[in-house]
C-alpha cells in the first residue's frame, strides 16, 4: 500500500514537474560523464578522447535518458497526446458515428446535470453562513397539531433565553414590501429579523453594515434596511453610494445601511428575501403587514403566533437530541406556566427542533420535495444509463467495422494495452465533447424548467440553480465516467487476440460483440419499460386531475392579486377601491362577472382560520370547529364559476348595517348540519353571530384530491376591516379569450391607482396548472425520455438484426438458393433477439412495479401498479421492438443469392 502511494507520488511528481525531473536527469548524466572522462584522463588519455570514450561507454546519451524517462511513466503522457490526435482523426473520419454518440451523451449528461443542479440547490446547497451544521430551526406546535408552526414573540424570547443547549437564537418572519427607490418601485419579499440574527448566522456585508442588536431596541428601533446583493444590483443600479440613501418601504422612510454578501437571500428556499428590517420596526410598515404591524401588542401576546422561523445555534458538543430534550422540558414548563394559552389540541404544547444545515424547505413539503427530486434524478439517471448503453452499442458496431484495422495493428505487434488505451482515449474524447455539448443542453433544460415549480411551491427559476463549480465538477466526472465506463468493454472486446482471425476473413460466425449487443438491447428495453410506464402513470394522473371537478370553473377567468395595505389604505379606502375596480372591470367588453375576495382557489397561502360555535352541532370532547374564511364582494361565486347549491350567494343587499350573513361550502353544510338545511341557521364567531344564507359547492383550494375543509364566505361590505389587511384578489370572467382580458384588467387597476403593483395577474387556469407542476414536470420529462428510450431501443434492435443479416448474407444466400423457406430465414436472423427483448420486458416491469411505490404521493386516481398502463406501455414497446426486428430482417429475404455468393 505504502509502496503504491510512493509510486503514485513519484508519478504525480513527474507529471507535475516534468521540467524538474528532466533537469535532474541531465545533471545526473553530466556528472556521470564528467567522472568517467576524469577517470580516463587519469589513465593517461587526452581530454577529448577521454570524453569520447566516456560517451561511448554510456551507450548513447539520448537513448539512455529515454530508458530512464520511460521508467518514470512519462511515456504515458506523450502517448496520450498522440492518442488524442489519432482519436480526433478517427472521429472526423466517421462523422455520423461521432455525431450520434456525442448527441446521445449530450442529452444524457445535459439532463442529468440540469436536474442535479436543481437537486443540489434544494438539498445539497445552503445559504452562505458560518458553520451551518450547528444551526437548528425551532417551531411551535400548531393548535391543529402540525409540528412546525410559527411562534409568538414571548415564545421566542423564552426559547432563546432559557435554553442552555443553544448559544443564541435569532428569528425572522416574511413580510411583503412595496420597495420604493428613486429608480422605481417594486413588490419584493422582505423579512423582519431579530437584531442578533445576522451576527448569529455569520452573514457578511458586501457594502456598509448589517442589522445589529443596537438597531433593534423595542420602542426605539432604527428604520434601517439591509438589501440583498441582487436587489442592489437591480433596483439600486449597483450604486456604491446606495448606503445611506433613504428608500420607502410601504411608504415609510428607511435608511439603507448595507448590502448583504452575494448569494445571501435569507434561509427560506421557497421565498428568497431581498430586504431585511429590524423586527421592532414592524409597526412602521403599515397598518397590518402580517401581524407584525398590528401595533406593539404582538410583542406581548403569547397567543399571537406570527413569528415564522426561529433559528438557533447549538453550543459546541451539544447534540440535536440534547436540544430536543431541553426543548421538550421547556415546552412542558411553558404549558404549566401559561395554561390559558391554547397551545395545541388537547392543550399540549410542543416545540419542534429540526436541523437547519441547508436551506429551510417549505414546511410540510420536505418529504415530497426529496421524493420528487429523487424521482427526477432517477429518470435522468436512467436516461444517462441509456445514453451510455447506446454509446457502448455504437462503439461495438464501430469496433466491428474497424476490426480489420485493429487486427492488423495487433498482428504487427502492437501491445493490446496500448490499443485499449487508444480506443479508450477515443471514448474519452467522445465523453469530453458530449459533456461540453451536455452543458449547453443543461443550460437549456434549466431555462426551460424555470417556469415550473417543485412541490411546496418552490419555483425552479427562483432557485437560481446555475452551473457553479460543484455542478461543473459533477458534469465532468459524469461525462468521463460514462465515456470510460461504457467504452471499456467494447475496447476490450475489440482488441481480443482472436481478432487476428477477422483478417483471415472468418465472417459467418456470430461474434461475441453481437452477444454483448443483445445484452445491451435487454438493458435498453428494461429502462424503456420503466420510463414509459412512469410517463403513462404521470400522464394519467394529469388527466385525472384535470378532469376532476374542482368546484369552480378555471377556464375563462383571470385573477389579479394586489395588496392595498402596502399603500397604507384604511378600510374605507379599501372598500372604495374594490368597489371602483369591480365596476370598472365589469364594464369591460365581454366581461360577465367580476368580484374581489381575500382568497381565490390555488393562489397558495393566505388562508385564515377562525374558531366557531355551531349551535345544534354536538361536538366531540376536544373537537374544535374551525372555518377558513374568505371575505368577498357580490358576484364572487359567479366569477369563480362555483355553483350555488341552496339559498343565495353574497349579494348587494348584504351591506353595512344589515344582519351579518354567511355562505358555507357544501362540506361544512354536510358536516355541521348533517342532513338538515343550514339556511337560516347561525354560526357564532366569538361575539358575532352570522346567519347562513347559502350553500355553495366545495371549491378545491390548493391541491386536486385534497381533503376538503369547512369554509365560510362573508361580505366585504359588512366586514370591511376583515378585508383591509393583506392581499386581495380580483377575479373576472369573460366570454372572450383570457389573454385579451389580462391587459384590460391591468389597465383598470392603473386607472384607479397608478402606484399599485400586482403580485399576480394570470388566468385562473394558470394558477391551477401551477399546482400540478410536479405532475407536469414529471409527465414532461418522463414522456420525453420515454420517447427517447423507445427510439434508442428501436435503433439498438434494428442495429443488431441488420448486422446479423449482413454477416450471414452468404449463408442466407446459400439457403435461399437451395430453396429454404422465407419464414425459417426470418426466424434465423431474429431468433437471437427474442430472449433479450423478453428478459428486458420482464426486468423492466418488475423494476417499474418496485419504483412505482416510491411515487405514490404524486399519483392521483391511478395506482402505481395500474394494469392498463402496464399493458399499454408493454404493448407499445413490443410493437416497436417487432417493427425494429422485422424491417431489417426482411432485407434478408430480398437478398439476391447470386450477388451475395458472387460478390464476396
Amino acid at each position: 500500500m505504502l509502496r503504491r502511494l510512493k509510486d503514485l507520488a513519484f508519478r504525480i511528481r513527474t507529471l507535475l514537474f516534468p521540467g524538474l525531473m528532466e533537469r535532474e536527469l541531465d545533471d545526473e548524466v553530466a556528472f556521470h560523464l564528467e567522472m568517467e572522462t576524469a577517470k580516463h584522463v587519469l589513465a593517461g588519455l587526452d581530454r577529448s578522447e577521454a570524453r569520447r570514450r566516456a560517451l561511448r561507454s554510456f551507450g548513447g546519451v539520448g537513448r539512455q535518458k529515454e530508458a530512464a524517462r520511460d521508467s518514470w511513466g512519462v511515456a504515458l503522457l506523450n502517448d496520450l497526446a498522440a492518442d488524442l490526435r489519432r482519436g480526433g482523426r478517427q472521429l472526423r473520419r466517421a462523422p455520423e458515428f461521432a455525431i450520434a454518440a456525442i448527441a446521445t451523451l449530450a442529452l444524457g449528461i445535459g439532463a442529468t446535470t440540469a436536474i442535479f443542479s436543481v437537486a443540489w440547490r434544494v438539498l445539497g446547497d445552503g445559504p452562505p453562513v458560518d458553520d451551518p451544521g450547528s444551526l437548528v430551526a425551532v417551531y411551535t406546535t400548531c393548535r391543529r397539531g402540525d409540528p412546525q408552526c410559527s411562534s409568538s414573540w414571548p415564545d421566542y424570547l423564552d426559547y432563546r433565553d432559557r435554553s442552555r443547549t443553544l448559544v443564541d437564537a435569532g428569528a425572522f418572519s416574511p413580510v411583503p414590501f412595496n420597495f420604493g427607490a428613486e429608480q422605481g418601485a417594486r413588490l419584493v419579499t422582505g423579512e423582519v429579523v431579530s437584531g442578533n440574527l445576522f451576527s448569529m448566522l455569520g452573514v457578511r456585508a458586501h457594502l456598509g453594515r448589517l442589522i445589529g442588536p443596537a438597531d433593534d431596541r423595542r420602542g426605539a428601533a432604527a428604520p434601517v434596511v439591509v438589501v440583498s446583493h441582487d436587489l442592489w444590483r437591480g433596483l439600486l443600479g449597483a450604486d456604491s453610494g446606495a448606503v445611506g440613501r433613504t428608500v420607502r418601504l410601504n411608504g415609510a422612510p428607511f435608511t439603507v445601511i448595507g448590502v448583504a454578501g452575494p448569494g445571501f437571500r435569507g434561509l427560506s428556499l421557497a421565498s428568497p428575501a431581498d430586504a431585511w428590517v429590524p423586527v421592532f420596526t414592524g409597526p412602521l410598515l403599515g397598518a397590518s403587514v402580517g401581524a407584525v404591524g398590528a401595533g406593539g401588542a404582538v410583542f406581548d401576546s403569547r397567543g399571537n403566533r406570527w413569528l415564522g422561523t426561529i433559528v438557533g445555534r447549538r453550543a459546541s458538543g451539544v447534540t440535536l437530541a440534547q436540544v430536543r430534550q431541553e426543548m421538550d422540558a421547556l415546552a412542558l414548563a411553558l404549558g404549566e406556566a401559561y395554561p390559558d394559552d391554547r397551545a395545541a389540541v388537547g392543550g399540549v404544547r410542543g416545540i419542534t427542533v429540526d436541523p437547519a444545515e441547508g436551506y429551510i424547505l417549505p414546511l410540510g413539503s420536505e418529504a415530497d420535495l426529496r421524493r420528487f427530486l429523487g424521482l427526477l434524478l432517477a429518470v435522468v439517471g436512467a436516461t444517462l444509463l441509456l445514453a451510455g448503453v447506446n454509446v457502448a452499442n455504437l462503439l461495438l458496431a464501430r469496433a466491428s467495422a474497424r476490426s480489420r484495422e485493429l487486427g492488423v495493428q495487433l498482428a504487427i505487434g502492437a501491445r493490446r494495452g496500448r490499443l485499449v488505451r487508444q480506443l479508450l482515449t477515443e471514448s474519452l474524447l467522445l465523453g469530453v465533447l458530449g459533456g461540453a455539448t451536455g452543458l449547453a443542453v443543461a443550460f437549456g433544460v434549466l431555462r426551460g424548467l424555470g417556469a415550473y415549480e417543485l412541490p411546496g411551491g418552490v419555483s425552479i427559476g427562483a432557485l437560481d440553480a446555475g452551473l457553479d463549480a460543484g455542478v461543473l465538477l459533477f458534469a465532468v466526472v459524469t461525462s468521463l465516467l460514462t465515456a470510460v465506463g461504457f467504452g471499456l468493454i467494447p475496447a476490450l472486446r475489440a482488441t481480443r487476440k482472436d481478432l487476428v482471425s477477422f483478417i483471415k476473413g472468418a465472417s459467418a460466425r456470430v461474434s461475441d460483440s453481437q452477444r454483448l449487443r443483445r445484452g445491451l438491447v435487454a438493458v435498453q428495453v428494461a429502462l424503456c419499460v420503466v420510463l414509459l410506464v412512469g410517463s403513462g402513470l404521470f400522464l394519467r394522473t394529469l388527466r385525472n386531475s384535470l378532469n376532476e371537478p374542482l368546484g369552480f370553473e378555471p377556464s375563462g377567468a383571470v385573477a389579479a392579486r394586489f395588496n392595498l395595505t402596502l399603500l397604507r389604505y384604511d378600510s374605507e379606502q379599501t372598500r372604495a377601491f374594490t368597489a371602483a375596480l369591480r365596476e370598472r372591470v365589469r364594464a369591460l367588453p365581454g366581461v360577465r362577472a367580476a368580484a374581489v375576495g381575500t382568497l381565490v382557489p390555488f393562489q397558495r397561502g393566505g388562508f385564515r382560520g377562525i374558531f366557531a360555535e355551531v349551535p345544534g352541532y354536538a361536538r366531540a370532547p376536544d373537537e374544535e370547529i374551525r372555518f377558513d374564511w374568505v371575505v368577498v364582494t357580490p358576484g364572487y361565486f359567479e366569477a369563480l364559476g362555483t355553483p350555488v347549491l341552496a339559498g343565495r350567494p353574497i349579494g348587494p343587499e348584504d351591506g353595512a348595517g344589515g344582519r351579518g350573513v354567511a355562505v358555507v361550502n357544501r362540506f361544512a353544510a354536510e358536516k355541521y348540519w348533517a342532513g338538515a338545511s343550514p339556511i337560516g341557521r347561525g354560526i357564532r364567531f366569538g361575539d358575532t353571530t352570522l346567519t347562513v344564507v347559502g350553500v355553495v359547492d366545495t371549491p378545491t383550494w390548493s391541491a386536486v384530491g385534497e381533503q376538503p375543509t369547512p369554509f365560510v364566505f362573508i361580505s366585504v361590505a359588512q366586514y370591511p376591516e376583515a378585508a383591509s389587511s393583506g392581499f386581495l384578489t380580483l377575479v373576472a370572467r369573460s366570454d372572450g379569450p383570457e389573454t385579451a382580458l389580462l391587459p384590460a384588467v391591468r389597465g383598470a387597476v392603473r386607472a384607479i391607482e397608478p402606484g399599485l403593483s400586482l403580485a399576480i395577474l394570470e388566468p385562473l387556469e394558470g394558477l391551477v396548472g401551477a399546482a400540478l407542476m410536479p405532475q407536469r414536470i414529471g409527465g414532461l420529462l418522463l414522456t420525453l425520455f420515454g420517447g427517447l428510450a423507445l427510439l434508442l431501443a428501436a435503433v439498438g434492435i434494428y442495429g443488431v438484426v441488420g448486422y446479423t443479416v449482413t454477416r450471414q448474407a452468404r449463408e442466407i444466400g446459400i439457403r435461399m438458393a437451395v430453396g429454404a423457406d422465407g419464414r425459417q430465414i426470418l426466424l434465423g436472423v431474429t431468433r437471437g433477439l427474442a430472449f433479450p427483448i423478453l428478459a428486458g420486458l420482464l426486468v423492466g416491469v418488475v423494476a417499474a412495479l418496485l419504483l412505482g411505490r416510491t411515487v405514490t404521493t404524486f399519483m392521483y386516481g391511478v395506482r402505481p401498479g395500474d394494469p392498463a398502463t402496464f399493458l399499454v406501455m408493454v404493448g407499445l414497446l413490443s410493437a416497436v421492438a417487432a417493427l425494429a426486428t422485422i424491417i431489417p430482417a426482411r432485407r434478408a429475404l430480398r437478398l439476391d443469392p447470386v450477388a451475395v455468393l458472387g460478390g464476396d
Binding site: L2, R3, K6, D7, F10, E24, L25, D27, E28, V29, F31, H32, E34, M35, E36, K39, S57, F58, G59, G60, V61, R63, Q64, A67, A68, D70, S71, W72, G73
Partner: protein, 111 residues
C-alpha cells in the same frame, strides 16, 4: 565492447548488486558502477546507461531514495541510499540468488 570476456550482467542481478553496494553507504550513480566493476575484479561490466534506468526503477519501487549532495571534490551529485524496504528486498534477492546459483553449481558439478 572492449573486453569480450567480461560477462554481461544476468538479467535482474544488476538491481541486486546496486542494492548491495548501497547497503554499505550512499553513493552516486557513477560510483555504483565503478564499485560493481571494481569488486567483481572487472568481470562484470555494468552498462552505464541501463544503470540509471535501474536506479530510477528502484527509486519508484521505494527500495532506494535519492538526494542531491556535494562530493568530496565539491561537485553536486545525486546520491542514492537504501531504504528499509530496500534492505528487506536485498535480503530476499540474496537468498533467492544463493538458492539459484547453488542449484546451478550442483548441476554443473554433477558428472
Amino acid at each position: 565492447m572492449a573486453d569480450r570476456d567480461r560477462s554481461d550482467m544476468i538479467k535482474g542481478t544488476l538491481d541486486m548488486l546496486i542494492l548491495k553496494v548501497l547497503s554499505w553507504e550512499p553513493m552516486h550513480g557513477w560510483g555504483i558502477g565503478e564499485r560493481i566493476q571494481g569488486l567483481s575484479a572487472d568481470t562484470l561490466a555494468v552498462n552505464q546507461g541501463s544503470l540509471y534506468a535501474s536506479l530510477h526503477r528502484l527509486t519508484r519501487e521505494g527500495w532506494i531514495r535519492s538526494s542531491w549532495r556535494t562530493t568530496e571534490n565539491n561537485r553536486r551529485a545525486r546520491y542514492y541510499e537504501l531504504t528499509r524496504a530496500g534492505a528487506r528486498q536485498l535480503g530476499l534477492e540474496t537468498a533467492h540468488w544463493r538458492r539459484l546459483s547453488g542449484a546451478v553449481d550442483a548441476i554443473l558439478a554433477a558428472g
